[in-house]
């Protein structure tokens, strides 16, 4: 149970909350007479996730006919999800499901742990991401660099403007300043 990867089911904090509530619903229905697990999974998670969930049950040797075993598994699953670390990620675009999966995979691969994303979209970041993790905030977006560049451009153009003497309004136009056509 410790190496359980739930990135196929949940990636964000909101998805995790929804998943837990749906699990709770199935767990409550376990002891009913006409309870059928595949029907309940289909109803709550849809076709794809149902298959994945059934695979998960097989991988953990859970007897799908035993209501008590199912209930225990669901409870431990909910506890595991509640214990997952939440990473606040501010990015500059609307992420797709695949994008979130890619980010989630990166964490599993590089840090050997699954995290839940609390995604915020701020287009002023331009690109890259700002991360808040365990109370620490780091901004590795393009915005700080862009602002530096902009400041540099402005400071280099500002003195030039000052050194150029303003021509008196009544002065006649010289031949050098005259342009014909384009």
């Amino acid at each position: 149970m410790e190496t359980l990867d739930l990135s196929n089911f949940i990636q964000t904090k909101a998805e995790a909350n929804d998943f837990i509530s749906r699990l709770g619903f199935i767990a409550d229905a376990c002891y009913q007479n006409n309870f059928r697990l595949d029907h309940a999974l289909m109803e709550q998670f849809g076709v794809q996730k149902k298959e994945k969930f059934l695979t998960l049950l097989r991988e953990h040797n859970i007897n799908s006919e035993s209501a008590s075993a199912l209930k225990t598994f669901f409870t431990s699953l909910s506890e595991k999800i509640t214990g997952l670390t939440v990473l606040s990620l501010t990015i500059a675009f609307e992420p797709t499901e695949q994008t979130l999966k890619a980010f989630s995979d990166w964490f599993v691969l590089n840090l050997c742990q699954q995290v839940l994303f609390d995604i915020r979209v701020d287009r002023k970041l331009i690109a890259g991401a700002a991360v808040t993790f365990k109370g620490k905030y780091v901004d590795f977006s393009i915005r700080p660099k862009f602002e530096q560049v902009l400041q540099r451009v402005l400071t280099t153009t500002a003195p030039q403007k000052q050194t150029q003497p303003a021509s008196p309004p009544n002065e006649h136009q010289t031949l050098e300043d005259m342009h014909l056509g384009r």
Binding site: A92, T99, F103, A127, F146, E147
Partner: protein
């Protein structure tokens, strides 16, 4: 035989006594009734007499009141007519007097008004000339003062205001350029590049130990 006779005699005597008593009682009752009838007749006679007296007195009072009222109305009519004539006469006299007086007053007022107007016009022309001269001098003085002190200050203030406005405009332009550039750059980057840049950012965070 003797007791039975005695009993019958006694019985006869008792019956006689009862009959006599009844006759006596009826006679007395009749006498009382007669007395009551007499009393009623007497009261009735008195009542009619009182009512007749009251009616005759009322008629007399009414006749006296009517006579008095007629007299008062006649007197009042006389007084009304005579007073009306007197008031009319007094009013017509008052109107005549007022008319005469108004004509006199108007004439006097007209005379004095023409006189005072002539006087005022002669004095105000000279006063006006004086005031105009004073105004011209003041105006020239103020104009000179304005050129010497106020105008340079005004020019200076205008210049500083101009500079502040230019600075403000420059800041606005920079902000607009910044926001527009950010927006444009954001949109020109593809989804794959965005994703790649985010993963690069995550790697930088990892390198700096941000995930520990």
């Amino acid at each position: 035989m003797l007791p039975a006779l005695l009993f019958q005699i006694t019985n006869f005597l008792l019956n006689l006594v009862i009959v006599l008593f009844l006759i006596f009682y009826l006679i007395k009752l009749r006498v009382k009734e007669k007395a009551v009838e007499e009393k009623t007749t007497k009261i009735d006679t008195n009542y009619h007499q009182v009512v007749d007296d009251a009616l005759s007195k009322e008629r007399k009072i009414l006749a006296d009141a009517t006579f008095e009222a007629d007299k008062i109305i006649t007197d009042a009519k006389y007084v009304n007519t005579s007073s009306k004539t007197a008031i009319d006469h007094a009013l017509s006299k008052m109107i005549d007097d007022i008319n005469n007086e108004t004509v006199d007053v108007t004439h006097d007022f007209k005379k004095s008004y023409i006189a005072s107007l002539t006087q005022v016009s002669s004095t105000s022309v000279t006063d006006f000339e004086k005031i105009m001269k004073g105004l011209e001098t003041d105006l020239q003085k103020q104009l000179k003062e304005f050129h010497e002190t106020l105008l340079p200050n005004l020019e200076k203030e205008l210049e500083s205001y101009k500079q502040a406005r230019i600075k403000q405009t420059e800041q606005t332009i920079i902000r607009v350029i910044q926001e527009a550039s950010q927006e444009i750059l954001n949109k020109t980057i593809s989804l794959n590049d965005h994703q790649h840049l985010v993963i690069q950012s995550l790697e930088k965070v990892k390198q700096e130990g941000g995930f520990e």
